[in-house]
Subunit: 214 residues, 2 copies
């Protein structure tokens, strides 16, 4: 697995393979062909084979993939063989929902604390985690060996918060703010509004096509 | 703008252009070159020109783009010249956070109601909107001309809920459940766990590279 160059598109599909294999495992299905796996994911079989070949030849011709071992391999590739420590900057609606998100614990994530500037929130507990003043974030990261910083603050605060996180040694950032931030560590953006606009774009195009037909 | 074939990658960048132009407008900047716009978005200038050319020649050589008119054009392309009516299936943490999400109102979205099967939630108000039993969702969609169905329910319920939504005339679905659902209307997925796994993948790869160097 050394020095592999894997395209972003392939990496984005890995969690879907992992998720689907987890479901198959739950259903006690022991093996699956690339064709069946492809169909379940709306992909084509050769893409599935190519994707998984990026990480080594997991399948066997005429046999397909062994579900539980491929699931385990993907867990390792996705870095799920350990737990991660996270903090959330911004204890508003999104920050609180993330803190309570069940999917996190399942994946081995632990939120240690939330940070905010809002006096009505600081000092309180959200999902049993303390909300601390943002001024304490840097020290907290330094002394608690935090892996992932989640940003769910206001737009203007996103870049300054990211800068403090990076300076304090955070190893990756998960950004929920609709702003393009720049950091020298792995960054994943969840741009809710952008996603919604892709949907309204499709609605608007569909409308136009209907009008053209009429 | 008729019968245009625009790639998904271009469509995914449109909200970013729209967002950036909105910020420029706020700053009273009247025009911008493709080079400057590209730099702000981490793209290259020729890509910016190509992307925007898909929808018509908005720029002028030697002048660049007129910020406010391009912003307005993009609003129209993104379908933001009207308001949208949405409902949320699943009134748990994510559903509630979405209902309270300020970005929605800004974009012209109105959440009419939430739906759930949880007796402790049904009958309550969340962000001043009623939480109704999921059995009432179909009638509600039919009689309220709902555009967008947001799914924030449990995994197993996602496809059945999507089917009811489509049958009742919903025009687009925004899915927050980590499941691959199939619908004959525009669909946007926000897979939080998948996004997080892309981040852990990057962390795991970074670790490996460090180990290789050592």
């Amino acid at each position: 697995m050394k020095n592999r160059k894997v395209s972003k598109a392939v990496i984005r599909r890995l969690p879907r393979y992992y998720r689907e294999l987890g479901l198959l495992k739950q259903k006690k299905i022991e093996r699956i062909s690339s064709g069946d796996l492809a169909e379940r994911l709306g992909l084509n079989p050769s893409q599935v084979r190519q994707d998984l070949n990026c990480f080594g030849g997991f399948g066997q011709q005429g046999y397909g993939y062994q579900v539980s071992s491929l699931h385990k391999e993907l867990a390792s590739i996705l870095g799920l063989t350990r737990t991660y420590r996270a903090i959330i900057a911004g204890a508003g609606n999104i920050g609180q929902a993330l803190c309570k998100y069940e999917g996190f614990l399942e994946l081995g994530f632990e939120t240690l604390a939330l940070f905010d500037i809002d006096k009505s929130l600081v000092g309180k507990l959200v999902c049993e985690k303390p909300v601390m003043h943002i001024d304490k974030m840097s020290d907290f990261i330094l002394s608690n060996n935090v892996d992932i910083g989640i940003i769910a603050a206001r737009r203007r605060a996103a870049q300054p918060i990211a800068d403090i996180m990076v300076k304090s040694g955070i190893r990756a950032i998960w950004n929920f703010v609709p702003a393009d931030i720049t950091v020298p560590v792995p960054l994943e953006n969840v741009h809710l509004s952008d996603s919604l606009l892709v949907l309204t774009y499709q609605l608007a195009s569909a409308n136009e096509q209907e009008q053209d037909k009429a």
